[in-house]
């Protein structure tokens, strides 16, 4: 690859133009707009413009009761709805000092991890679509369909579950779910192997990802990037491990990290994470305790004691944290949502400078952005 400087020093004129990528563009997977100042196909400056799908989720939190806001949390990042609800109910439970029954915590872990796999599968398919490979998307959706069927069986919904309730979960899982999940885990392992041999080891894919779009640890810290992005830069930061919540401390799983910092590292992190999620699900199913799934004495009218409460979970895209400021009323004073995609997007401007357009789009794909998660 010839550097831009070499081309310019060889006498090619340097003249920039602005390429308006989005808000409708196939590579942005939603209504993200990126104003790109280009020099030929090289990006001089890529400035993301957010806000096209801003839905005032935080403001909505300020004029709804806690129970009324709960369905909203599934709609912030619709691909990991389960974990997002977990963040919100976790914050409320922490404020009320509610003890969630262990069975409910285990089921929360199982469904969250299933949700993480389905989210990574969508990312995988869409990322390959960005790279011009169409077929993996349909394979990924084939597997995702099985997860959605399982979750539909217990939650009644396929995308925005609202399955977790303050103090527990909406209803207990049945035998068919447990049997189906076990079957899914055994089916999914060979599928992951197949994905590796069919897609990950493909030379074209490797050439497109290896050494493309490096994001240093420092840059990740500077912008607060979390999730697979920071783990792809070699930092083993995972909320499930550093601030264990729910039942995660009881399971044996690895936090995949890769030192390469390139797009391939982030790709590999997510592929490994799916395998680790399968491990967690398997352990949770083995150890699933009996008992109730809802805490006793959840007050009918929720009034959080005045104070400041925060609860963080590891969503598929990184650290999702809910901060609730309560003044003792039924309606929170402030609900702050810390979403991972916004932080992950904000490093795009620095990371993409000087890159070629297709490489920058591969980098953007490897950040796994969900646009409603950015704009909230």
């Amino acid at each position: 690859m010839i550097s831009k400087e070499a081309i310019i020093s060889n006498g090619a004129p340097s003249e920039t133009f602005v390429l308006n990528l989005g808000p409708q563009h196939p590579a942005t997977h939603g209504v993200l707009r990126v104003k790109m100042t280009m020099d030929g196909e090289y990006i001089v400056r890529a400035e993301p413009v957010c806000g096209y799908i801003h839905r005032m989720q935080e403001k909505m939190g300020e004029n709804r009761t806690y129970a009324q806001f709960l369905p909203n949390t599934s709609r912030i990042d619709y691909l990991s709805a389960m974990t997002y609800t977990h963040g919100f109910v976790g914050a409320v439970e922490r404020a009320l000092k509610l003890q969630v029954p262990p069975r409910a915590e285990y089921i929360r872990v199982i469904t969250s991890e299933l949700n993480r796999i389905s989210s990574h599968l969508v990312w995988w398919g869409a990322f390959l679509l960005d790279l011009g490979g169409f077929t993996p998307l349909l394979y990924a959706f084939d597997d995702r369909e099985k997860i959605l069927d399982l979750l539909e069986g217990i939650t009644g919904s396929r995308l925005t579950y609202s399955y977790f309730r303050i103090g527990g979960i909406y209803n207990d899982v049945d035998d068919s779910f447990i049997k189906g999940t076990r079957a899914f885990v055994t089916q999914m392992r060979p599928r992951l192997k197949m994905y590796r041999s069919l897609v990950t080891d493909n030379i074209i894919l490797r050439k497109r990802l290896i050494n493309i779009g490096p994001i240093s640890k420092e840059m990740c810290r500077k912008y607060g990037a979390t999730g697979p992005v920071i783990r792809g830069s070699g930092v083993p930061y995972d909320v499930r491990r550093v601030e264990p919540y729910s039942a995660y401390s009881e399971f044996d799983f690895l936090i995949p990290t890769f030192e390469e910092t390139d797009s391939m590292a982030r790709y590999m992190v997510r592929m490994e994470e799916m395998a680790q999620s399968l491990r967690i699900i398997e352990q949770a199913l083995d150890k699933l305790p009996a008992g109730p799934v809802m805490a006793e004495k959840v007050p009918r009218v929720l009034k959080l004691p005045a104070g400041d409460y925060c609860y963080a979970v590891e969503a598929a895209r990184g650290r999702f944290a809910v901060r609730i400021v309560s003044d003792g009323k039924e309606i929170p004073y402030r609900v702050k949502l810390r979403t991972p995609s916004l932080s992950n997007l904000s490093l795009f401007e620095e990371a993409s400078a000087g890159m070629l357009l297709p490489d920058a789009l591969a980098l953007m794909g490897s950040l796994d952005l969900v646009i409603p998660d950015i704009d909230r």
Binding site: M1, I2, F17, L19, H25, P26, A27, G40, E41, L128, L129, D130, L131, G132, G133, F134, T135, L137, L138, Y139, D142, N202, I204, L205, K207, R208, L356, L357, P358, D359, L361
Partner: protein, 352 residues
């Protein structure tokens, strides 16, 4: 006997009538193929992706291309404001016509070429370069940044891939000693090991040569994994972004016409054209059978290559642009030069 009938026919039929017949035949052939290769592509893509593909319009979606064509024809041809109107309208035609003209010299069977030119191969490559210009003009005249980036990509890509392709073709001309496509096929008569791809005694690298030709053909026709011109996840629709209705439709048809031409040419040059793979078993019957089955064998080989093109598109991700140029300049051109030199040395040493 059939030869005799054919001779009497050609004596009886005036030349203009024959030409008109071929012209209509080729137009109909290309039109039908362009339409139904889209169906094949969509059905194939469906099968590769574990879904049925088009099923709604007609049996197994067979009427889908007609519905698509009706839709495209009924749409307004929008010419974007500020574009170069003339070039914008000419570009699709420039893309389509070279493919149609080049098909005239392809021998579909024994004595079945519209125009049995002595410089057939040269004609195909002369016309083949025009469609680069067509995409460039289309991209340039639409006054769209994506289209212009795409136009610039197409030019550098096609320049890079024309060279190894022509080096391969020069090898073939040297091996066969002629540019007449009918003559090239006639030389490959007999069993399948007489086909150029398996003529290892002239050049042991002949299968590699075929692979280079096929790769270059994919790049020249802007097919995945080299579809830089319309890399939809990067450049929306590339040079075709501003085209609507039949303007886009003609580009689309031309893409398939070019694939068809590329595969037909690969069949003629490497896979023995209309020759039967078991021709040596037929003995004296060979010539009779060939006339009956020649077109059949030609189509079998050609459509196998077309299927491979579809197969490759739905299997691989798109290459990066510099990866594409690196492949051409660092691998394909040196290797094709080696095959050229090797086969000339082998011919001089062993086959003079």
């Amino acid at each position: 006997m059939i030869q005799a009938i054919q001779n009497s026919l050609s004596a009886w039929w005036p030349e203009p009538l024959r030409l008109v017949l071929f012209l209509v035949g080729i137009l109909a052939f290309v039109g039908l193929n362009a339409a139904y290769l889209v169906w094949v592509e969509r059905k194939g893509a469906g099968r590769f992706q574990r879904r049925p593909g088009p099923t709604e319009v007609g049996y197994a979606g067979l009427l889908q291309p007609i519905a698509d064509a009706a839709k495209l024809m009924s749409k307004q041809l929008i010419v974007p404001a500020g574009s170069d109107t003339t070039l914008f309208r000419i570009a699709p035609l420039l893309m389509m016509s070279p493919a149609l003209m080049s098909l005239a010299v392809i021998p579909w069977g024994r004595n079945l070429a519209a125009c049995n030119l002595n410089v057939g191969l040269l004609l195909i490559f002369a016309f083949g370069s025009i469609n680069v210009m067509a995409i460039m003009l289309g991209g340039w005249s639409s006054r769209n940044k994506y289209a212009i980036i795409s136009a610039a990509r197409v030019v550098s890509q096609n320049v890079a891939y024309e060279i190894p392709m022509l080096l391969v073709v020069i090898t073939m001309i040297m091996v066969t000693g002629t540019m007449n496509l009918t003559e090239i096929v006639t030389q490959q008569a007999g069993a399948f090991w007489h086909w150029n791809i398996f003529r290892l005694w002239i050049n042991p690298l002949m299968p590699v040569t075929f692979l280079i030709f096929f790769t270059c053909m994919l790049a020249e026709t802007n097919r995945a994994p080299f579809d830089m011109a319309e890399a939809e996840s990067e450049l929306v629709a590339g040079a075709y972004t501003e085209y609507s209705g039949m303007g886009f439709g003609v580009f689309f048809m031309a893409e398939y016409a070019n694939i068809l031409l590329g595969c037909a040419l690969a069949t003629v040059l490497f896979l023995g054209g209309w020759q039967s793979p078991i021709g040596h078993l037929l003995g004296n019957w060979q010539s009779t059978i060939d006339i009956l089955l020649g077109v059949f064998w030609f189509f079998v080989k050609m459509y196998f290559l077309v299927f491979s093109v579809v197969w490759i598109r739905w299997t691989f991700p798109r290459t990066q642009f510099y990866g594409l140029l690196n492949l051409s300049w660092k691998i394909l051109i040196p290797v094709s030069l080696v095959t050229l030199i090797l086969s000339s040395a082998m011919m001089k040493l062993f086959h003079t």
